[in-house]
């Protein structure tokens, strides 16, 4: 669903593409914040100058530069742009700072509002009633009534929320820090200056903070300008469109592929074709594990946020995660096999894929939003495109990979085709949050029974990814 933060991000993206195509990006990029917030216009923050400062950081993120990386505040956007367009891809050494330097997410401190700590407070709606259900409902004796108003002692309060539901006047509310609340692994916290900060040794790049911040302070580092300039240089770029693309744009998948081809990609391929291979190999791997140990337990591996979660937080699951490569990786291999000189651009709804792509040698990642901006900038309407001629559409089960239960169904179909009557004790983790993280531990220890576990970080599957459009 679109909100003010998504609107401005998308508007900036489209402006960026148009200015790039008109050949005026270098001259205009530093003016964009001023053009968008001219004097006498309404400010969304304290004043237009603050708005402009944040817009500069937004544009930096679109250029792929994180606010945390900034060393020289006086450096202009056009200088950053020159580095990106002209320079060689930056080699980043594999030191302890690697995760931070290559992280696809960044927090822009000037955009962060430093939300007050999460707590339960009584508001002026309190009527100081006689029955005092709040006082009686509180298991910690944290509530007293003084001067006709209930008061909550935050040193005793455990934020259970019992008083909130007990109060007939809706006088008690819980304030939250949305990013901290959304993060399943406690990786984002306010620092000593009260500004949110991501601990990259913990972050799994699920993108939940990015989606939840009402100030749009968590930003994604884009590769769009690198893609646009590679296209302009005439490099062969192959668009690998994720199965989650279905119904993201108006029109069919075939029309979307046609739109990509029209936008300047030298070729287009459905990642669902890679998903077919993932299905085949993952099923074979599972059957093999079953053969070796009838009590085997294996989880899927195509969700990169989940793979990051296991790597950083759930070591007990490491040998349970399937070793089969993801659809993106198979598709990349298929493209490279056909044309070793081609560069691959994965197009999907996922933040974490950016980290997987870097590890697996995929050249670029674009979000659906960024692809949309390229199409909008180049005036390409998906609905107006003739369906792209494809040799063979991917199997329906593979196209369904991006929906919760989709991988399970594909593997089950493949397994029963090989072994009629095969039974799969499959379960799904449909969305990673604190609760499901705890459940994952129970699966690992065998307290929750299953032999095949499909894990997707986003509720409903990749179709609801942090960078999805619908």
């Amino acid at each position: 669903m679109i909100n003010g933060a998504t609107y401005i991000r998308r508007e900036l993206l489209i402006r960026l593409v148009r200015a790039f195509d008109d050949g005026v990006l270098r001259e205009e990029i530093d003016q964009i914040p001023i053009r968008l917030r001219p004097k006498d216009s309404d400010a969304s923050r304290c004043c237009i100058y603050h708005d402009r400062a944040v817009l500069k950081y937004r544009l930096m993120a679109l250029l792929g530069i994180s606010a945390e990386e900034e060393t020289d505040e006086a450096k202009t956007l056009s200088e950053y742009l020159d580095e990106i367009i002209g320079g060689e891809p930056r080699e980043i050494s594999e030191d302890s700072e690697f995760e931070r330097k290559t992280a696809p997410l960044s927090v822009c401190a000037p955009a962060c509002s430093g939300c007050p700590d999460a707590r339960v407070v009584s508001t002026s709606n309190c009527r100081g009633c006689f029955a005092r259900p709040c006082v009686y409902s509180c298991p910690k004796n944290a509530i007293t009534v003084t001067n006709g108003r209930s008061q909550i002692d935050s040193s005793k309060c455990v934020k259970c929320g019992k008083c909130i539901s007990a109060c007939p006047y809706n006088a008690i509310v819980k304030t939250t820090v949305p990013c901290e609340e959304a993060c399943p692994v406690g990786a984002i916290r306010k620092n000593e200056r009260g500004v949110a900060e991501i601990d990259f040794s913990k972050c799994i790049f699920c993108g939940k903070c990015f989606m939840s911040c009402p100030f749009g302070a968590v930003m994604e580092r884009s590769q769009i300008v690198s893609v646009l300039s590679a296209m302009k240089r005439g490099e062969k770029l192959v668009a690998m469109v994720a199965p989650a693309a279905d119904r993201q744009f108006p029109g069919t998948v075939e029309q979307l592929l046609a739109a990509c081809a029209k936008a300047g990609f030298s070729d287009v391929i459905e990642v669902a074709l890679g998903a077919e291979k993932t299905t085949e190999h993952e099923t074979a791997e599972f059957l093999e594990r079953m053969e070796q140990d009838s009590k085997t337990f294996m989880t899927t591996s195509c969700c990169p946020a989940y793979v990051n979660l296991v790597g950083k937080h759930l070591p007990e699951l490491i040998d349970k995660v399937s070793l089969t490569p993801s659809p993106m990786v198979y598709t990349h291999e298929m493209v490279r096999e056909a044309d070793p000189g081609a560069k691959t651009v994965f197009i999907g709804p996922c933040v974490a894929k950016r980290s997987e792509a870097r590890r697996k040698g995929i050249d670029f990642v674009l979000s659906f939003e960024e692809l949309g901006a390229i199409l909008a900038g180049r005036k390409i309407d998906v609905l107006a495109c003739e369906p792209h001629p494809i040799e063979r559409p991917a199997a329906a089960t593979a196209r369904n990979f991006a929906r919760s239960c989709g991988v399970t169904e594909a593997v089950l179909a493949e397994a029963t085709a090989k072994l009629p009557g095969f039974q799969l004790a499959a379960k799904q983790i449909n969305g990673i949050d604190r609760k499901t993280c705890a459940m994952l531990k129970l699966y690992a220890s065998g307290k929750l029974p299953a032999n095949f576990l499909e894990v997707m970080a986003c509720p409903g599957g990749c179709v609801n990814g942090p960078c999805s459009l619908s």
Partner: protein, 89 residues
């Protein structure tokens, strides 16, 4: 009475900037408007030029009137006005 023609821009710029949720406005039409409007999805109306980008999504009424920053609420409110105006005249 002529039906009011409503063209919703589903060009990529408008779509990205909020037209996606306008697309099922048909289902949200109240009884009094149901058979008085003719809603059509359109490809780019040509209004999203560089300097006007901030106005997307766009909706066009009766071939002439343009609404920027369109939302379901705004479109319904305008339709009510148009219908009332037509009934009075």
């Amino acid at each position: 009475m002529e039906k009011i023609k409503v063209e919703i821009c589903c060009g990529t710029a408008c779509y990205l900037l909020g037209a996606a949720k306008l697309m099922n406005i048909e289902e949200e039409l109240p009884e009094n408007l149901k058979d008085k409007v003719d809603i059509q999805a359109r490809t780019c109306l040509g209004l999203c030029e560089r300097d006007h980008l901030g106005g997307a999504p766009y909706v066009k009424f009766n071939d002439t009137e343009i609404m920027g920053n369109a939302s379901v609420e705004k479109v319904l409110a305008r339709l009510n006005q148009l219908v009332e105006g037509a009934e009075q005249s």
